[in-house]
Symmetry: C2
Subunit: 141 residues, 2 copies
DNA sequence: ATATATAAGACCTTATATATCCTCTTGACG
DNA sequence: CGTCAAGAGGATATATAAGGTCTTATATAT
């Protein structure tokens, strides 16, 4: 029940892009080196972020990544779920078939509530807000 | 970021014991069969629960498991953390050394808040409350 | 065309979760 | 005491997921 490395890397990537002028194209190599993310792995993660419309990938020479949304419009939840898939917490919540009485079972209701709460907290945390209040970016990581 | 099988099994075990008269000694075999938990694995899980003082393990012939607390005094958090360890969500929260500026970084602050919130929700969910409001136990699982 | 950059999937490695096995210890009971 | 039932606890498999790398293909500027 923890953030994966891919999740952490994705956050770092978006954080880095948010620190650049809006619409600027940034090389994968630059993100990888600055944010200490394995180069190849960065490619995978960028694809996940692109699928969710968080950034755009430009091919060809002079290619790279470009944010498609403003930091106000990107939440921690968006980024984390882009690479980790839906946050389930408990199986029954996402696949109700796995438990016959999931709709009435209060154990599962607790998990469901916890999940809703967690997702709300992460949804409310936009990158604009986080950067405004200070992030690791300020220091060399 | 999900409940492990061991966590689910632990919950089932405690749920089952809560359904018995207080202080009753229940055989591992019974818990295992009734709650559909692998017999050997049940032993491991019981040890974790015993370490946290949730139940007592009695050896010898006529041995078995016995709840040490009333359902009012056992929360979902107790049981889940007994088998899964502390819920971290994000590494930096539990091991601040892994990030230099964890005390001031708002990304980590969000994770920390989310974690606190999740733990509170699970802490408030006592087995007494959950059973009162209906659980899967009522049905054959 | 060529150089540079990413795409996409195959593949490998490591870590964790899940489960089982075996030997030892405990305690009831004859 | 000896024996049996039951769990303890370490060692060891097996399965699944995470983490990372490699290769071939594709796109674009020059």
């Amino acid at each position: 029940m923890r953030l994966t490395r891919a999740g952490e890397y994705a956050v770092r990537c978006v954080l880095y892009l948010c620190g650049k002028p809006p619409g600027e194209l940034v090389k994968r190599r630059a993100v990888s080196e600055e944010m200490d993310v394995p180069f190849e792995f960065m490619g995978k993660i960028a694809q996940d972020l692109a699928k969710r419309g968080i950034l755009e990938i430009v091919q060809g020479s002079r290619g790279g990544f470009r944010l498609l949304r403003s930091p106000e419009e990107i939440s921690l939840l968006d980024v984390v779920e882009a690479v980790m898939g839906d946050i389930p917490l408990n199986d029954c919540v996402v696949r109700p078939d796995s438990c016959r009485r999931s709709t009435t079972c209060t154990v599962h209701q607790v998990w469901k509530d916890a999940r809703t709460q967690l997702r709300r907290t992460l949804k409310e945390a936009t990158f604009a807000k986080m950067i405004r209040e200070g992030t690791c970016l300020n220091d060399a990581h």
